[in-house]
């Protein structure tokens, strides 16, 4: 998809010093009121936590840039509109090149997301890959070798930084990459109803998704999910679960607005293959859906995965 926002040709910053100089200039000129960047999480680790800074001193003290800057700060892009409303210009946000597509989406939908070229200034860093911090579950500095995220292995920046041979080697060594690719292409091994039923309703996938920026009225909220589940049962006689409904509603909602930044898969505590679900929905909609009847398609889809599940369970007996 080609977007006309022009942000892909913006300057790439090579070092934090350049960022600090530029951001301090913007702050001094009143162009922005705040910088959203990566800051140190704690004195004990190299992990990073989002930080919101408003002065040159704070920039120098708090900003960091390292391979542990894994999450997507565009999730905080709505702070830009808030700053602008207070007459403080906007915000500068530190982004990785792969996240620019998210910014495209946010700006395209600016009338709803509130993000405009004026109130969000991206500070694009040169990136040579970020680590999968999920692997730090039992992380001690001495033992674990961190590995890069799945998305980095498909990234042109990573390829440019490390060369094709290293990328190929990393793909093979990566604990998840091959599964991820395989699941996206062919999901026949996955029992979807059972997989989705693992969902805890923690909403981490929704809340880290830059495309999920609504602050109220989400059809995937806890109560709404129950209402939809009940409606399916009463009107369509499809016996699904709240978990299935939540995942279908949310995944469909980002279907064409997803940059595959993989934040949702990264944060899911029960490792639901959300991108594989998205691919499946896309494939099947292309086959049988019609733009005039999206709801009908989703209802049929829900019915189908429940039936498949029943079949698989019968087969297992």
């Amino acid at each position: 998809m080609i977007y006309a926002t022009g942000i892909h040709t913006l300057k790439r910053y090579a070092s934090l010093d350049e960022v600090i100089d530029q951001a301090a200039q913007w702050l001094a000129a009143g162009r922005i009121g705040m910088v959203v960047g990566y800051g140190r999480q704690s004195p004990f680790t190299d992990l990073t936590m989002p930080t919101f800074v408003v002065s040159r001193e704070q920039l120098e003290q708090e900003l960091v840039w390292n391979p542990f800057c894994d999450y997507n700060l565009l999730n905080y892009a709505n702070l830009g509109a808030r700053q602008a409303a207070r007459g403080k210009g906007g915000v500068a946000i530190v982004v990785k090149p792969c996240e620019l597509h998210n910014l495209d989406i946010l700006m395209e939908e600016g009338n709803m997301s509130g993000v405009t070229r004026d109130n969000v200034l991206p500070v694009v860093m040169q990136c040579s890959g970020v680590y999968e911090t999920d692997g730090l579950n039992a992380y001690t500095k001495e033992v674990a070798r961190p590995f890069v995220q799945t998305k980095c292995l498909d990234c042109p920046e990573y390829l440019a930084a490390h060369g094709a041979a290293k990328v190929a080697e990393d793909k093979l060594a990566h604990p998840r990459y091959l599964d991820y690719e395989a699941n996206k292409a062919d999901d026949s091994e996955i029992n979807w109803a059972a997989t989705l039923n693992k969902c805890l309703h923690c909403y981490a996938c929704r809340n880290v998704c830059p495309s999920c920026y609504c602050t109220q009225g989400c059809p995937a909220d806890e109560a709404s999910t129950t209402h939809i589940t009940n409606a399916l049962r009463m009107v369509k006689h499809i016996d699904t679960s709240r978990q299935v409904v939540y995942n279908l509603v949310r995944t469909w909602h980002i279907q064409a607005r997803c940059s595959e930044c993989l934040e949702c898969e990264r944060v899911c505590p029960v490792d639901i293959p959300i991108m594989a679900l998205k691919s499946k929905l896309g494939r099947e909609f292309a086959g049988e859906g019609s733009p005039g009847d999206v709801m009908g398609f989703l209802v049929n889809f829900a019915g189908r995965i429940m039936a498949e599940n029943a079949e698989k369970e019968r087969g297992g007996d």
């Binding site: 704690s42 001690t140 309703h201 981490a204 809340n207 880290v208 909220d221 049962r233 009463m234």
Partner: protein, 362 residues
């Protein structure tokens, strides 16, 4: 003296076979959907032996993620017939729990769901707790997010455990077995000759104590929280700037609460049609925007930072005031799995520092 003997490390997980054969439901770290999680196992080879902490806590075996409370059916005259499901409470042994989880669940959660302090008893939790025996394993290699020592516990803390097993250090390690309750005693009968008693108990006790002390030295995330409660007790600090500054980072998901051994909030939902259906009890999270949302539309905690302040207060003040129990046991799951690495320990450190500055100034 609570030391009862030792198990050879290579025979440790044979406990699963023995207990399963004896007809008990055994919950141990196992691979569920590719992740190391507590799950029901029936044989030693299903167990993940090389683990620090499973992704979930074993609280879901006492307080399930989702359970039916009753089913309802509308009669012809408009009245409702409510039917409670037939529930089974199988005798359960949790093997390989870590002391942080054990204290959190058998201590703190139990204080909420069956505590004397506030006089409420949750029948389902109490019943499950009555049939649950916890065999904790001391930690020997804490990771960078572990901070139980800071919370006043330790890698070999026996609180809440029926049996505690500690692997000793050195050339010929053994797993020292200590028993702390009548349920633990009963469990030993099932283990039979797996627990050898041919060594001097005081020697084993000493080796076990040394192992605990060594593990304690390996903690990295160690800090001072002595002033945090004082800071939070001052009502003037409720509107302190740090809550908004730090809490705005929170993305308002519920990962930290669902993985926490002491988080206990739940919700009821009716699933089905008006004429028939079921009422379910599900985990809820104080971090979600619709938690405590009133029917009028009023929301007492509108923003993510107000909700995060609530969680912080719950862990470091409310738990202690309301339930006389430990709110945070330092398992570190919320630090490890936060999508944006928000770190409750950095909160605690800042609150502590603020209170210290006040005291120096005074």
């Amino acid at each position: 003296m609570s030391v009862r003997g030792y198990i050879r490390p290579e025979r440790l997980w044979q406990m699963v076979d023995r207990l399963s054969t004896a007809g008990l439901r055994v919950v141990a770290p196992t691979t569920v959907d590719g992740l190391c999680q507590f799950g029901v196992v029936t044989a030693a080879n299903q167990v993940v032996t090389d683990y620090l902490l499973p992704q979930n806590t074993f609280k879901e075996f006492l307080f399930p993620k989702q359970e039916q409370v009753f089913t309802y059916l509308r009669n012809g005259d408009g009245s409702y017939l409510l039917t409670e499901p037939r529930r089974a409470f199988p005798e359960t042994v949790v093997l390989g729990a870590r002391p942080c989880d054990t204290v959190g669940i058998m201590g703190s959660l139990a204080a909420v769901f069956g505590g004397d302090k506030w006089g409420y008893e949750d029948p389902l939790f109490t019943e499950r707790r009555r049939v649950t025996t916890v065999v904790s394993f001391s930690c020997d290699r804490p990771d960078i997010s572990c901070f139980c020592t800071t919370q006043g516990l330790g890698p070999d803390d026996p609180k809440g455990s029926d049996v505690l097993i500690t692997r000793t250090e050195g050339d010929a390690p053994v797993c020292v077995v200590e028993v702390f309750s009548a349920r633990g005693e009963a469990l030993l009968d099932h283990l039979g000759d797996l627990v050898a008693a041919d060594r001097d108990a005081s020697g084993l006790a000493l080796a076990r104590k040394q192992a605990g002390a060594l593990a304690r030295e390996r903690f990295v995330r160690v800090f001072d929280i002595s002033q945090v409660k004082t800071f939070l007790d001052n009502p003037g600090n409720f509107d302190d700037e740090m809550f908004e500054r730090l809490g705005t980072k929170c993305v308002s998901c519920g990962v930290c609460t669902f993985e926490c051994p002491t988080c206990h909030c739940f919700d009821f939902q009716d699933v089905g049609a008006p004429g028939s259906g079921e009422r379910i009890k599900i985990w809820d999270s104080c971090q979600l925007p619709d938690f405590t949302l009133h029917a009028s539309g009023h929301q007492p905690r509108k923003t993510s930072w107000e909700r995060y302040r609530n969680r912080f207060l719950c862990k470091f003040k409310i738990y202690e005031d309301a339930f006389e129990a430990l709110g945070c046991t330092g398992c570190g799951r919320c630090v490890r799995d936060c999508p944006v690495h928000v770190d409750i320990t950095s909160y605690a450190m800042q609150a502590n520092k603020k209170q210290q500055l006040v005291q120096i100034g005074a």
